[in-house]
Amino acid sequence: MTPDLGDLYQEVILDHNRQPRNFGALPGANRRAEGFNPLCGDRVTVEVEMQDGVVQDIRFQGSGCAISKASASMMTESMKGRTRAQAEALFQEFHRLLTGDAAAPDPAALGKLVVFSGVREFPVRVKCATLAWHTLRSALENAREIATTE
């Protein structure tokens, strides 16, 4: 495998693509949003159960490429127990990791999510990696509109 492809398709990402965690409907959800990437037609639904301002449970559904599925899967894993503000802070950190904007991302804050650092070398795939995150943000805002990556 050429090194740069290996940076993108890390084993952890391939694993989450094969066996996405927290995949399916969440019957007790009180927040829900749909995300859509008009460029590729990928769709994702994120459902959240918030209690006392904290993410109790979170699941996602939809179809997408390995990057978007793994990103959604790992996002759900890292969201449980977070407040909305903490969720937003993690999204900001994750976004910095993908785009290399401004301050360097904090590996400690990102944890396992650092496996997505290779996406930076594939700018057209950044939207794949952030679709579920945009959708989560819109679910937590309880926005009625469908989130898009545009």
């Binding site: 495998m1 050429t2 740069d4 492809l5 993108l8 398709y9 391939l14 693509n17 094969r18 460029l39 590729c40 037609g41 990928d42 769709r43 179809s63 997408g64 490429c65 390995a66 990057i67 599925k69 594939f122 057209v124 795939r125 794949c128």
Partner: protein, 414 residues
């Protein structure tokens, strides 16, 4: 040995490849394998030179200048119209309208012909395999007019179901708009038969020829269609230029759809008289360089042995079909009896975008996505496909590179 001007030599793909400068480059250290021709085709040097020559020597506005440059530009522009007329075997130059592309050609017919011929309850018939550009203009028109958009279904192999198509031609059908070659499946529709069915009921037919023009011999009089639309950039010409062929009798009766300069005969504040065909439909300064470039592209195609070219293209597609279909976990989408130019496929457990990214790193350019045919993707129950699309300059060796790239995908996504 001297070759007389205009003489054609037997088709030779190696010599054809020499005519396309862009092909000779590396991408990520690998020789470029360009298999995204259905999105846009590459340009021969003859086209690039014609554009440079026009801007270097002849640039002027057309149809009004009294000076030499304007005369030369006008002559080149109108000469290109004659070349298009010959390419389509239309009867008259005035049946050739220059537009931005196939999308604009379809919108022109929808807005001009459609708006004056549709009443509430009338119907427009399309097929499941249409590009969004041959769906949305009719949806908008039908909504405005209270008309109904009907859709002729296709079979699992991607062939149009002719009986179903014919059944949908009813007393309220006012127009049929059908794709000649599907951009997502490669299916070649039996347009001549479809037109016969419609003609028996006096229903005009528009043919979306965007994907057909680079591959097939097009003869609008033999097809007997009323409108034929194509895009220059898929035909080895510049982007931003396309053609609407229209039967003169229909075009004459149609109102203009855009207005301004060039499309008028005389203007007073009381009344405007429209120009004759085709200028009635060419408002404003057109894409003169694009038209001249398209003419150069048609000259280029004309210089190539057509039967040899088509045989070569058929061979490469057949070889690609065999080679790719034989790979594990691969399923072809679109296996119609008659196909040209397109090989769409999916791989079990791998999203087409991941296929596209991995192939890109191998220097292979394909398209991954819904190909602006979302209803068709729904019909096949897939969100997207990977699509390799071929042109006259592609080779069996490039198919082998594609197959090796797909094997690499299978390795990454075990």
């Amino acid at each position: 040995m001297t070759v007389p001007a205009g003489a054609k030599t037997a088709f030779d793909v190696r010599s054809v490849r020499q005519d396309f400068p862009i092909l000779h480059q590396s991408v990520f250290g690998k020789p470029l394998v360009y298999l995204d021709n259905a999105a846009t085709a590459q340009k021969p040097k003859a086209v690039i030179d014609a554009l440079a020559r026009y801007y270097t020597q002849d640039n002027a506005n057309i149809h009004r200048g009294l000076h030499q440059l304007s005369e030369r530009a006008t002559a080149a522009y109108e000469e290109a119209r004659s070349k298009v007329r010959r390419f389509l075997n239309a009867a008259e130059d005035r049946e050739i309208v220059f537009v931005r592309g196939t999308t604009e050609a379809i919108n022109l017919v929808a807005q001009s012909y459609g708006r004056t011929h549709l009443d509430p309850g009338d119907e427009v018939l399309i097929t499941t395999m249409e590009h969004h550009s041959n769906i949305v203009p009719w949806q908008i028109l039908c909504e405005e007019k209270g008309a109904r958009l009907r859709v002729a279904p296709i079979g699992d192999d991607g062939d149009l179901l002719l009986d179903e198509f014919e059944k949908l031609l009813g007393p309220r059908t006012r127009l049929v708009s059908v794709v000649h070659v599907s951009n997502a499946l490669g299916t070649v529709n039996p347009v001549k038969r479809l037109v016969e069915m419609a003609r028996r009921r006096d229903i005009p037919v528009l043919v979306d020829g965007a994907q057909a023009a680079p591959h097939l011999r097009i003869d609008v009089r033999e097809l007997d269609c009323d409108f034929y639309a194509l895009s220059g950039h898929k035909l080895f010409g510049p982007t931003g230029i396309g053609v609407l062929y229209g039967r003169a009798r229909l075009l004459e009766a149609m109102p203009p759809w855009q207005s301004g300069g060039d499309m008028i005969a005389s203007v007073t504040f009381a009344k405007t008289t429209y120009n004759r065909l085709p200028y009635k439909f060419e408002a404003g300064t057109p894409h003169i360089a694009g038209v001249i470039g398209l003419g150069a592209a048609l000259d280029y195609l004309e210089s190539i042995d057509r039967d040899g070219r088509i045989a070569h293209e058929d061979d490469v597609l057949a070889y690609a079909t065999r080679t790719i279909a034989a790979l594990p976990r691969v399923r072809l989408v679109g296996t119609a009896r008659e196909k040209t130019g397109v090989l769409s496929f999916v791989i079990e457990g791998v999203h087409p975008h991941d296929i596209g990214t991995i192939l890109d790193r191998e220097g292979i350019a394909i398209r991954a996505g819904h190909h602006c045919t979302q209803p068709l993707m729904d019909r096949f129950g897939v969100p997207a496909t990977a699509r390799a699309s071929f042109a006259l300059y592609n080779t069996r060796a490039e198919v082998d590179a594609l197959a090796a790239g797909v094997r690499r995908v299978l390795e990454v996504f075990r």
